[in-house]
C-alpha cells in the first residue's frame, strides 16, 4: 500500500492503472507477421520465375480467373465479422448462422481450388514437376490452401462445440483471434490472386 502512495507524482502512476496489451492479441499479431514472412518467400519465388519456364503449359494457356472462388473467400471475411458481432451481443442463433455461412463459403473456395487443380493435372498435364510455372504455382497456391484448411479445421471445431452446447460466448476472445487469422488468410489470397492470375498470366 505504502509504495503506491509514494508514486503519486509520477507520470505513469499506478493510480491510472497499469494496462498492458492482451497476450492473445499480441500473440496472434506476431503469428501473422511470421506467417507473412513465409508467404513472402514463396511469392518472391513465383515472381522471379514468371516467364522463365523452358516448356509449357504456360499460365495464360491454362489459368482461368477464379472469380467465384475469390468472391466466396472474401465474402467469408464479411460473414465472419457478422458472426463475431452476433456473438458479442449474445445472439447465439445469428452467430451460428453466420458461422455456418463462413464455413460454407470457405468450403466452396477449397472445392473450386480442387476442381481447378484436377483440370490442370488431368486435362492440361501441368504438375508440380512439369516446369517452373507448375512448381511455383502449386507451391504458392498450395501453401495458401493449406492455411485455409487449418482455418477450416478451427472453424469446424468452434461450430462443433457450439452445437454440442458449449457456451461459446465465454470464449469470445478466442473466436475473435480465429477471425483475425481468417482475415489474414483472405488478405494473402488477394496477394496470391494478383501475383498468379493477374501479373503472372
Amino acid at each position: 500500500m505504502t509504495q503506491v502512495q509514494t508514486y503519486k507524482g509520477d507520470a505513469l502512476t499506478l493510480e491510472q492503472g497499469w494496462h498492458l496489451p492482451d497476450r492473445g492479441t499480441v500473440g496472434i499479431a506476431f503469428l501473422i507477421v511470421t506467417d507473412s514472412a513465409l508467404f513472402t518467400i514463396f511469392v518472391v519465388a513465383y515472381l522471379v520465375y514468371i516467364g522463365k519456364s523452358l516448356n509449357g503449359p504456360m499460365p495464360k494457356d491454362v489459368l482461368d480467373l477464379p472469380i467465384v472462388a475469390t468472391i466466396c473467400l472474401l465474402s467469408s471475411s464479411i460473414t465472419v465479422v457478422f458472426a463475431e458481432h452476433a456473438l458479442k451481443k449474445g445472439h447465439l442463433g445469428a452467430f451460428k448462422l453466420w458461422w455456418i455461412a463462413t464455413i460454407a463459403l470457405g468450403l466452396e473456395f477449397l472445392t473450386a481450388t480442387g476442381v481447378e487443380w484436377h483440370k490442370l493435372i488431368y486435362k492440361d498435364h501441368l504438375t508440380i514437376r512439369t516446369n517452373l510455372f507448375g512448381t511455383t504455382y502449386y507451391s504458392l497456391v498450395g501453401l495458401h490452401a493449406s492455411h485455409v484448411i487449418v482455418g477450416m479445421v478451427f472453424l469446424l471445431l468452434v461450430m462443433g462445440v457450439t452445437f454440442a452446447g458449449f457456451p461459446i460466448q465465454t470464449q469470445f476472445r478466442r473466436v475473435r483471434f480465429l477471425s483475425w487469422y481468417w482475415h489474414f488468410v483472405d488478405a494473402v489470397w488477394v496477394v496470391v490472386f494478383t501475383v498468379v492470375y493477374v501479373v503472372g498470366r
Binding site: 499480441v26 519465388a45 517452373l132 512448381t135 507451391s139
Partner: protein, 560 residues
C-alpha cells in the same frame, strides 16, 4: 498489493525429497520457464562439446599436409555437422534458454506468456537435433548412400539436389533444422508477447533492462528471418521428393535463388546468435564497473538499428556469384553501415567502464576479452564488406577466422560471462573463481592460437572446406599452429564443466545477490522459487535495486 522490500523477507525454502522418477517427471513435464531455460542451456552445452570434438578431429586432420586421419567423405560430414550443430543446436538454444530463464525474472513476472508453448519449443528443438544426428544411422536411405549430411551448413543448390546428394543425408539436414526452427519461432513469439504484455507495474519499455531489450529485438529478428529458411527448405524438399524445379538448373531454375533465400535468413541469423552476448555484456559490465550503462538510449537505438540493417546485407555472402556492380556496391555499403551501430556499442561499453571501479572477476574477464576480440571480428568484417577485397577473401580461411572470432571470441566468451554471472542465481552456489580464471586464460590462449593464423592462411590462398592440402603451398606452418591451439581450448572447456559439476555439489553458497546487482532477478532467492517473486515488484527506474539500496540517490531522480 505489489511491493518490494530489500533485503527480502521470505520464508526459508522447504526441504522436499522426491524419488528419482518423480524428479524426472517434474523435469520432463515442466512448463516452468526457469527449468526449461536450464534444459535449453544444458542441451546446448552438450551439443557444444560434441561439435567441439568434431572440430578437434578436423584440426587434427589439417595439422599436417596430406594427412590421413580421416578421408574426404568423413571430413566433409564433419564440417557440415560441426557448423550445423554450432549454429542451430548450440547458438539458437542459448538464445531461447537465456531469454526464457531471465526475461520473466527481469521484468517482474511469474512466467512467460505461454508456458506450454515454451515447453513445446524446447521439446521440438530437441527432437530436431536428434533427427539431425539420426542421419548417422539412417542417412543411407534405401540406396545405402550417405550417412550424415555433407553439403556444408548452408547447403548450396544444386549440390543438394537428388542428383548430387543421393541417399537421405540431405533430407535429415533439411528436416532436422526445419523442425528445430519451429521451436525457435515459438520461443521468440513467447518472448515478444511476454515482454510486451507482462511487465510489472511501473516498468515502461524505457525502464526495461538492456538484456530484455536486446532479446526482444532478437526475437523480432527470429520471427522475420527464420521463415525464409523454412520456405527455402520446403522448396528443397519439393525439389528432392516431388520433382519440383525451384533450384533445378536443367529446367531453368536458379542455383543462386537458394543462396538469396538462405542468406536472407542466414545473415540476420548471425546477429540473432550474437545478440545474447550483447545482452549479457550490457548487464555484466555495468555491475562490475559499478556504473550504469553509458548511453542507454543510444544502446537501444543501436540494437534496433543493427536488427533493421541486418535484414538488408545478405548478399555480401554472394559477392562472387556475378551480381551486377550496382548490387555489389549496395550490399558492400549496407554491410559497412551495420558496423556503425556495432561500433557504438563497443564504445558505450568501454565508456561504462571508464571512470568506474572495475571488479575483474571471471564474468568481467570474459567481457574484456569479448571487447577486444569482437573489435577484431568487426574490423575483419569491414574488410570482407569491401567487395573487391572480399573477392580475394571470400570462401577462404580468412572468413573462417572472421566468423570464429565473432562466434567464439564474441558469442561464446559472452555466454561464459553470463554463465559465471547467473550460475549463482540459478543454482544458489558460486562457481569457483580460481578455476574460472584458469578456464579464462586457457581459453583465451587456445582461441587466439587457433584462429588468428586462419586469417594468414586465407591471405596465403587457402580455400575453405578442404580435407587436405599439398605441402608446397605455404600453408603447413600456420595450420600446425592453429591445430595446437585446440589443446588449450579443450582443457579450458573441461575445466569449466568440472567447475559446474563440482560447484553444484559443494560450491560456496551464493545468497540472493552475490554481485550487488541492480535488476530484479537479484531481488529474489537463489534459486528463485517457482513463482519467482513473493510479491510482484513495482519499479520507478531501470535500476530498481539501485533505487532501493540508495534511497538518497535513486535513478528516477536523474533518468528522463
Amino acid at each position: 498489493m505489489a511491493s518490494l522490500n530489500y533485503p527480502l523477507e521470505h520464508p526459508p525454502p522447504k526441504e522436499e525429497e522426491f524419488s528419482f522418477s518423480e524428479t524426472l517427471y517434474q523435469w520432463v513435464a515442466t512448463v516452468d520457464h526457469k527449468r526449461l531455460g536450464l534444459m535449453y542451456i544444458v542441451t546446448a552445452l552438450l551439443f557444444l562439446v560434441i561439435a567441439g570434438l568434431m572440430a578437434s578431429v578436423m584440426r587434427l586432420q589439417l595439422a599436417f599436409p596430406n594427412n590421413h586421419v580421416v578421408g574426404p567423405e568423413t571430413f566433409n560430414r564433419l564440417f557440415t555437422m560441426h557448423g550445423t550443430t554450432m549454429v542451430f543446436l548450440v547458438g539458437m538454444p542459448f538464445v531461447a534458454g537465456l531469454s526464457n530463464y531471465l526475461v520473466p525474472l527481469m521484468i517482474g513476472a511469474r512466467d512467460m506468456a505461454f508456458p506450454r508453448l515454451n515447453a513445446f519449443g524446447y521439446w521440438i528443438f530437441l527432437f530436431g537435433g536428434l533427427l539431425l544426428y539420426f542421419s548417422y544411422i539412417g542417412g543411407g536411405g534405401l540406396s545405402g548412400h550417405g550417412s550424415a549430411p555433407d553439403v556444408g551448413w548452408f547447403a548450396y543448390a544444386p549440390l543438394t539436389s537428388k542428383a548430387f546428394s543421393r541417399g537421405a543425408s540431405t533430407d535429415f539436414w533439411i528436416l532436422g533444422i526445419l523442425v528445430a526452427g519451429i521451436g525457435s519461432v515459438a520461443s521468440a513469439l513467447n518472448v515478444i508477447v511476454t515482454t510486451i504484455c507482462m511487465r510489472c507495474p511501473g516498468m515502461t519499455l524505457t525502464r526495461m533492462p538492456m538484456f530484455v531489450w536486446v532479446m526482444l529485438i532478437d526475437s523480432w529478428l527470429i520471427i522475420i528471418a527464420l521463415p525464409p529458411l523454412t520456405a527455402a527448405q520446403v522448396m528443397l524438399l519439393i525439389d528432392r521428393f516431388l520433382g519440383g524445379n525451384f533450384f533445378n538448373t536443367q529446367a531453368g531454375g536458379s542455383a543462386v535463388l537458394w543462396q538469396h533465400f538462405f542468406w536472407i535468413f542466414g545473415h540476420p541469423e548471425v546477429y540473432i546468435l550474437i545478440f545474447p552476448a550483447f545482452a549479457i555484456l550490457s548487464e555484466v559490465i555495468p555491475i562490475f564497473s559499478r556504473k550504469p550503462l553509458f548511453g542507454r538510449a543510444a544502446m537501444v537505438g543501436a540494437v534496433v538499428a543493427i536488427g533493421f540493417i541486418s535484414l538488408g546485407v545478405w548478399a555480401h555472402h554472394m559477392f562472387a556469384v556475378g551480381m551486377t556492380s550496382w548490387s555489389n556496391t549496395f550490399f558492400a555499403a549496407s554491410s559497412m553501415l551495420v558496423g556503425i551501430p556495432t561500433g557504438i556499442k563497443i564504445f558505450n561499453w568501454t565508456a561504462t567502464m571508464y571512470g568506474g571501479k572495475l571488479r575483474l572477476d571471471t564474468p568481467m574477464l570474459f567481457c574484456c576479452a569479448f571487447l577486444l576480440q569482437f573489435l577484431v571480428a568487426g574490423l575483419t568484417g569491414i574488410m570482407l564488406a569491401v567487395s573487391p577485397f572480399d573477392w580475394q577473401l571470400h570462401d577462404s580461411y580468412f572468413v573462417v577466422g572472421h566468423f570464429h572470432f565473432t562466434l567464439i571470441g564474441g558469442l561464446v566468451f559472452g555466454l561464459f560471462a553470463g554463465m559465471y554471472y547467473w550460475f549463482p542465481k540459478a543454482t544458489g552456489k558460486l562457481l569457483c573463481e580460481k578455476l574460472g580464471r584458469w578456464h579464462f586464460w586457457l581459453f583465451v590462449i587456445g582461441f587466439e592460437t587457433t584462429f588468428i593464423p586462419m586469417h594468414f592462411l586465407g591471405i596465403l590462398g587457402m580455400p575453405r572446406r578442404i580435407y587436405t592440402y599439398a605441402p608446397d603451398r605455404g600453408w603447413d606452418f600456420w595450420n600446425l599452429i592453429s591445430s595446437l591451439g585446440v589443446i588449450a581450448q579443450a582443457a579450458a572447456i573441461a575445466l569449466f564443466i568440472w567447475n559446474v559439476v563440482d560447484s553444484i555439489r559443494s560450491g560456496e553458497k551464493a545468497g540472493d545477490d552475490p554481485w550487488d546487482g541492480w535488476t530484479l532477478e537479484w531481488a529474489t532467492s537463489s534459486p528463485p522459487p517457482e513463482y519467482n517473486f513473493e510479491k510482484l515488484p513495482v519499479v520507478r527506474s531501470s535500476r530498481p535495486l539501485w533505487d532501493l539500496k540508495h534511497p538518497h540517490d535513486p535513478d528516477w531522480k536523474f533518468e528522463q
